[in-house]
């Protein structure tokens, strides 16, 4: 197999070329889709242009909107993790907790996050709390489900080993079940942060008046497709970066696992 090297740029470059050709050669109706160069120019004005009395109302507002959305994602994700991980541990470990809580989660989980929007606006109004509710709820499901799964996958032999070494329930949870479930928990966190970015865009498009989702919908209304596309790239980039951060944290905490894979 060839080394990774710079080959990974080939496909993105080709896609850019096709995009460019599609616009300049008018494979698509003119005036609908902006060319890559136009998106790049608008994006850069959006990022570094002088704010305020400029020709573009978006000029210089990128960072502020990125921070709005990122903060919401971070807070919502944090709530989801703080609730989802302990709850997943309980459901996976304790039969009573599983019987009491798991069916409700499985029943609520198929309700798409978008379907919660009217409910969220009705209850929380068009404030941050509504966005956090949607993001937190969306990220919660993959985190709780994967944590539960990780706990149930704990090797019986390791549980027996811990018991015969004198470990009680609390020690077993902390020293055996939790570390054993940690790889699954990280899978849940990665999926969760992906859902969180989906949820933040949906919430900002409708329920709050700031952030990238708000810009996306607003730009669509005023016919600024260049800003729409630049927003899509921005969200993609932020989602990618947050995924890498969680992946990195996972590698740091799961060094023993890397040894196993290469051993």
């Amino acid at each position: 197999m060839p080394r990774r090297g710079p080959w990974f740029v080939l496909l993105p470059l080709a896609l850019l070329l096709v995009w460019h050709a599609a616009v300049t050669r008018q494979w698509v109706a003119p005036g609908i889709i902006p060319a890559p160069a136009q998106v790049a120019a608008s994006w850069s004005t959006w990022i570094v242009g002088p704010p305020g009395k400029s020709l573009s109302p978006y000029s210089g507002t990128w960072l502020a909107n990125v921070l709005y959305s990122s903060r919401r994602v971070f807070e919502g994700f944090l709530i989801a993790a703080v609730v989802g991980i302990p709850l997943g541990l309980m459901i996976g470990w304790n039969r009573l907790a599983s019987t009491l809580v798991d069916p409700s989660i499985q029943l609520l989980r198929p309700v798409p996050i978008t379907a919660w929007l009217p409910f969220s606006i009705a209850v929380f109004g068009i404030y941050d709390a509504g966005a956090l509710f949607l993001i937190g709820l969306g990220a919660f499901y993959p985190i709780v489900v994967n944590t539960t799964h990780g706990v149930r996958d704990t090797n019986l032999l390791l549980l027996r080993a811990a018991r015969m070494l004198g470990a009680g329930e609390a020690a077993i949870l902390r020293k055996v079940v939790f570390p054993s479930a940690l790889p699954s928990i990280f899978t849940g966190l990665r999926l969760g942060v992906g859902v969180a970015w989906t949820a933040v865009i949906v919430a900002e498009m409708i329920a709050v008046k700031s952030g990238l989702g708000y810009v996306l919908w607003d730009a669509y209304y005023v016919g600024r497709m260049d800003i729409c596309v630049a927003t899509m790239f921005s969200v993609g980039l932020l989602g990618f970066v947050s995924d890498r951060i969680i992946l990195g944290a996972g590698h740091l905490l799961l060094r023993w696992r890397a040894l196993e894979a290469h051993g």
Partner: protein, 267 residues
């Protein structure tokens, strides 16, 4: 033979008329039947039997992992209610915690039971050298060979100085060379503290080399066919396996196994 210290007259383990049934895919499977068996303090007792004869079931009941369907299991003068550090287990798989280093695996028991560090630290140091793992304290299990992992598995239970050491085919998954080394190591350990051991194996030579008594089990449903006292001098070493006395015992055990196989085939 050296005089053995006699701690107490009570038995290290005792099974009285023990029966065990499992339900597998809706069918009842009789694992062991009418087991009467005892391990004396400071005895190295081996249970010898073919795969699937229920010998691990027997050990698991002494460990407290399984409960008998009928009958009673006692250890150190008390009925067995569940797993306990006084009945430590070495499994066939090393069953180490992969997220802990060698040192953290060995100190898992003492730390969990809140033994003060000044009590267990010297023991850990002595054990690491005894089982030949000096310099590996900060390694993770994934970085060790099968034999080394099993040494950690032995060290982490010896550090708790259990009254009864239960070993479930501990060397079964090791290669032949490593197995011999581990058997010598276990003989050394035994000489040092006359640790009471219940050792389950399907290896005739291993049982005779290590144990004071070898109880031969029948095929499933497992019963104890005969208990043979191994009157071989201690301290023992590997070359014992070539002595005439050893071979005489081996012939006796092999005859029992053959007889059992014929009986099972006739049924």
């Amino acid at each position: 033979m050296a005089e053995r210290p006699r701690a107490e007259p009570r038995l290290a383990a005792e099974l009285r008329d023990v029966w065990k049934e499992f339900v597998k895919r809706g069918r009842r499977v009789e694992a062991v039947q009418a087991i009467d068996f005892a391990v004396a303090p400071n005895e190295f007792a081996a249970i010898l039997g073919p795969s699937g004869c229920g010998k691990s079931t027997l050990l698991n009941m002494v460990a407290g992992f399984d409960r008998p369907t009928r009958g009673q299991v006692w250890a150190n003068g008390a009925p067995v209610e569940g797993p306990d550090p006084s009945r430590a287990v070495v499994f066939q798989e090393p069953a180490l915690f992969p997220w802990y280093t060698v040192l953290d695996n060995i100190t898992f028991g003492p730390k969990t039971r809140r033994v003060p560090p000044e009590v267990y630290r010297p023991r850990v140091a002595a054990l690491l050298s005894q089982v030949g793992l000096e310099g590996f304290a900060s390694h993770y299990p994934a970085e060790l060979s099968g034999g080394m992992k099993q040494r950690v598995g032995i060290a982490r239970v010896l550090v708790m100085e259990p009254e009864l050491l239960l070993m479930d085919e501990p060397f079964g998954s090791l290669d032949a060379q490593t197995r011999l080394v581990m058997q010598e190591l276990l003989l050394e350990v035994w000489e040092r503290r006359h640790q009471t051991v219940l050792f389950v194996t399907h290896d005739v030579e291993e049982a005779l080399l290590l144990a004071d008594s070898v109880s031969v089990m029948t095929a499933r449903p497992g019963r104890i066919k005969k208990r043979i006292t191994v009157e071989l001098p201690r301290p023992r070493a590997l070359d014992l396996t070539t002595s005439p006395l050893f071979n005489e015992l081996k012939r006796e055990v092999l005859a029992l196994i053959r007889e059992e196989r014929l009986r099972a085939a006739a049924e």
